[in-house]
């Protein structure tokens, strides 16, 4: 009887020791996953490798739009709506602080065509102050085109993106006179099939 009790005790003790060893290994594993999970990654690359970006699904072949320079002194707000996939009609809103009569240049967004066929995206701009004597020029693949003219004329623009490429959209904002109030530029992206 005594021998049995001693055997039982020894088994229980071994199980408890084993549980403690497992707990130690578990803590090491959780630490590894937590610390390595905190290493920052580029949102762009994350979208590239994963199927989800902040809960919004993206497909591997759909055209994608990614945020550009958001932390620029003359930009007061920067919003990329409707996710990164252009098939969802992505919309980029850029709010400007009061602007001087000079040229402001910034990288507004990047367009990516992950598919194997060339694609075209239509960019439709709108500017919150139409008669502001401000010219807005879009630079894409080395070509410059005016999308908002001095007299407020809006010109939609078709951008061709070759297969498996990524290209930046740069904007040049040139007010002829000082813009004392804040303004908002919206760019609507629509995929043309």
């Amino acid at each position: 009887m005594e021998q049995r009790d001693s055997f039982k005790k020894s088994i229980l003790s071994s199980i408890a020791d084993f549980a403690l060893v497992l707990a130690s290994v578990g803590i090491v594993g959780i630490t590894y996953l937590s610390v390595s999970g905190l290493s920052p990654v580029s949102k762009q690359r994350y979208a590239d490798n994963g199927s989800q970006v902040l809960g919004e699904s993206t497909t591997k072949t759909a055209l994608q739009v990614f945020a550009g320079e958001e932390s620029v002194p003359f930009i007061s707000s920067y919003t990329l709506k409707q996710g990164t996939s252009i098939s969802d009609n992505a919309k980029l809103d850029v709010g400007f602080e009061s602007l001087e009569a000079t040229t402001y240049t910034f990288r507004a967004a990047s367009l990516k065509n992950p598919g194997n066929t060339d694609m075209t995206v239509r960019v439709t701009p709108s500017f919150s102050i139409p008669g502001s004597y401000t010219t807005i020029t879009l630079v894409f693949a080395g070509l410059e085109q005016e999308i908002v003219s001095t007299n407020g004329l809006i010109s939609p623009l078709d951008l061709a993106i070759p297969a498996n490429t990524i290209a930046d959209i740069t904007l040049k904002v040139q007010p002829s006179t000082r813009l004392a109030t804040k303004s908002l530029l919206s760019l609507d992206f629509t995929e043309i099939r």
Binding site: S13, A16, D17, L20, V21, A23, S24, I27, V28, I30, T31, Y32, L33, S34, V35, S36, G37, L38, S39, P40, V41, S42, K43, Q44, R45, Y46, Q52, L54, G55, A67, G68, E69, E70, S71, Y78
Partner: protein, 181 residues
């Protein structure tokens, strides 16, 4: 043995918390210095949590985060080592003992036997931190000195731990087997 393992687990929890908080502080410092726009990915429990909007800012944020992480890991390891070395010297040199008593550091020193699981746990976590720094260095192409410093410190710490154990091996064995308290 049980007592040793229980204290080892407790020390591991403390070390784990310190390293996770160190990385969080590092990321916060990196984001504050670079002014990078970021979002938090909450779609998976153990995925990549911090997403940086601009590709070019990912490297500096990761670099600052690892430098802070490295700094905190070295400070934590040094504190544990200082206590050990001081305790080691205390048992050998009356001069050191007088100094410790004079500086009122006796409360700061720990019981020699409680040091063993703590030393091992921190040693394991310092090597884990080294692996994590090397992994980040390879991912982001950091300068070589960052993983080198971390590896050198872990080697030094391990050497000191085993030197300490060499001097106290019989005490350590009796502690692990629970024959001495």
């Amino acid at each position: 043995m049980r007592d040793f393992l229980r204290k080892f687990v407790l020390s591991s929890i403390l070390a784990s918390t310190v390293f996770v908080i160190a990385k969080l502080i590092g990321i916060w410092v990196g984001l504050a210095i670079t002014g990078a726009a970021f979002s938090l990915n909450t779609t998976s429990a153990f995925g990549q949590f911090v997403l940086i909007s601009m590709d070019s800012l990912t490297y500096p944020v990761a670099l600052y985060a690892n430098v802070v992480f490295l700094g905190i890991a070295i400070i934590a390891g040094t504190i544990i080592l200082t206590k050990t070395i001081l305790f080691n010297d205390l048992t050998r040199s009356p001069r050191v003992m007088v100094k410790v008593i004079h500086l009122n550091l006796t409360g700061w020193l720990e019981d020699g036997q409680d040091m063993y699981p703590k030393l091992f746990a921190w040693d394991a976590f310092l090597w884990l931190a080294t692996i994590l720094v090397i992994k980040d260095a390879l991912t982001y192409q950091f300068p070589l000195y960052i993983p080198s410093i971390m590896t050198a410190f872990s080697v030094y710490y391990t050497y000191q731990v085993f030197s300490f154990l060499d001097a106290h091996i019989s005490d350590m064995i009796s502690y692990v087997h629970g024959t001495k308290r």
